[in-house]
């Protein structure tokens, strides 16, 4: 099967400091890849560089479009980058307030990407928005409420609905469950797993929580100091870690 995203020798430096270094991997359609590692290990830098929000210092990223043509992301114009981000990709931020438009209603938030794609039928937009709210377990009666009146977990679910409404082929997620309490986390993870399966989308998720990787991802990449130290099937990595850092990471998970 053809890969959806090909990352080769990707590096991103901040002046002298290393953000991420020499990262290579393939992402296949329908696959969910988790990037784990401690704070400052370069996970978010890698994610932002892949999503073309940061320019890489070295290396290449190729994305296979709907028409099977490969797209080199560093040669991408601003117009194409925006079109891609609008039509084929999604990005879920750690803090839902960064990803949502807080001064308009929940329904407008969900419908925004559809309107950007040119949908001009209010009734239909409303229908889709309310069905997506239901899908992410938000009461559709709250469609006209401001996202600021939502709880943190609801805001995150709203952001997921807003991102997935256009059925993107590839979604980037930056610690979508960090900062939420455990029961809310569990519901969001469950929701994500269901949606990823239903829509068959590929996703790259950054997390520092190994339980999240265990629950969602088939494949996991472990990062330390900007480099990938270990990569493989999630179960393999978590049950039989090879690299000393991974061993440390796995053994430091609290069990209750």
């Amino acid at each position: 099967m053809n890969a959806l995203l090909q990352v080769r020798k990707l590096s991103r430096h901040y002046g002298q400091r290393i953000g991420c270094q020499d990262v290579s991997f393939d992402l296949h359609p329908g696959e969910l890849l988790c990037i784990v590692g401690e704070s400052g290990s370069g996970k978010s830098t890698l994610l932002n560089t892949m999503a073309a929000q940061l320019a890489p210092s070295a290396g290449s990223i190729r994305y296979r479009q709907k028409n099977d043509a490969w797209l080199e992301l560093d040669a991408l114009s601003e117009a194409d980058r925006r079109r891609l981000a609008r039509e084929e990709w999604g990005f879920v931020t750690q803090n839902p307030r960064d990803g949502l438009r807080l001064n308009v209603s929940a329904g407008a938030n969900v419908a925004e990407r559809l309107m950007a794609l040119g949908m001009r039928d209010y009734g239909r937009l409303r229908e889709i928005a309310s069905s997506w709210l239901a899908r992410v377990e938000i009461d559709p009666l709250r469609i006209d409420d401001a996202p600021t009146s939502f709880s943190g977990g609801m805001q995150q679910r709203l952001q997921i609905a807003r991102t997935l409404v256009t059925q993107p082929r590839l979604v980037f997620m930056d610690e979508p469950t960090a900062g939420l309490d455990v029961s809310v986390q569990a519901r969001i993870l469950d929701l994500l797993r269901r949606l990823v399966n239903e829509l068959g989308l590929a996703a790259v998720m950054v997390t520092h929580d190994l339980a999240v990787a265990r629950l969602l991802a088939a494949r996991t990449m472990v990062m330390q100091g900007g480099c990938v130290v270990e990569t493989g099937l999630t179960d393999q990595i978590l049950d039989d870690p090879q690299h000393p850092y991974t061993q440390l990471l796995v053994s430091s998970v609290l069990t209750t």
């Binding site: 609008r86 407008a108 990407r113 209010y122």
Partner: protein, 279 residues
């Protein structure tokens, strides 16, 4: 005319700069052209953009009309008309049909305009996306890429909150199928007059230092949803003075008991309509 001023107040180099910007604006309908806005002898918000455009356009043979909310006899209109009478010595008029240049604040005259007339708008905020996107760099990129989905978010919000598109003035338009443009705070009642207008329409924003234009016979589309089409205001009343049922009406409170009357906002149109009715 006061001889100590250059003709029409501005120096010739400034007028040349303005004319170049205006030519560019006409060449790219709806595109906001930056220009070096000068300090004028009236405060920002009183029409400094419009007055500079008018100064760059006027010739000795022009006949100038100035309206403020449709009226020829309000402070802003009287001041600007007197300003150009003094500094350029041009003839002024209150009759729409007789004017060659009409500077306006917040209205388009009811009398249909002709090819030999130019309408100059005073614009407080030239950027229609500003309330939705505060960053100038971002709005410029959105214009460059024609990435205008955000404008519909505002219209969506209107319908969700009020049941209809409640934006009643400064209603966003798409000029020549390309640039999202603010028509200046004219009531949406006037938006249809922008579409394929025979007269050249020029817009000046003095504080924001931007000019833009809608050339004659250019397509101007007011944004809307398929199932919530664009609609203009309608009244159950007719003008209390001239009896017109077709013009834009102002609601005026006439005493302390809340008695109201509806009158034409366009004073010239109202006067002429009344004269016709009497004759």
């Amino acid at each position: 005319m006061t001889p100590t001023y250059n003709f029409a107040f501005l120096d010739e180099n400034t007028k040349r700069m303005l004319r170049r910007a205006l030519l560019k604006a006409v060449a790219i309908p709806g595109y906001q052209v930056p220009f070096g806005s000068r300090e004028m002898p009236l405060p920002y918000g009183w029409g400094t953009g419009g007055i500079q455009v008018t100064a760059a356009l006027l010739g000795p043979d022009d006949v100038l009309k100035v309206i403020d909310q449709g009226a020829d006899d309000t402070t802003n209109a009287v001041n600007i008309r007197r300003f150009f009478a003094r500094t350029a010595g041009v003839a002024t008029t209150e009759r729409t049909a007789e004017a060659s240049v009409i500077q306006t604040r917040h209205r388009i005259p009811e009398t249909p305009l002709r090819e030999d007339q130019i309408l100059v708008f005073q614009v407080p905020e030239p950027e229609p996306l500003r309330t939705l996107e505060p960053r100038e760099a971002e709005t410029r990129t959105m214009h460059a890429l024609a990435d205008y989905g955000l404008m519909h978010v505002k219209l969506y919000e209107d319908i969700a909150q009020y049941g209809h598109i409640a934006t009643s003035y400064d209603y966003p338009v798409l000029v020549d199928g390309r640039f999202l443009t603010s028509p200046s705070p004219i009531p949406k009642f006037d938006n249809p007059k922008l579409d394929h207008s025979p007269a050249l329409m020029l817009f000046g924003a003095g504080r924001e230092k931007r000019l833009y234009a809608i050339p004659p016979y250019t397509q101007v589309e007011s944004l809307a949803f398929d199932d919530h089409p664009f609609e203009i205001q309608r009244w159950e009343h007719q003008c209390a003075l001239c009896g017109s049922g077709e013009s834009y009406l102002d609601e005026v409170v006439v005493d302390d008991c809340g008695t109201r009357m509806f009158v034409c906002s366009d004073t010239d149109y109202c006067g002429e309509h009344l004269a016709e009715a009497v004759a």
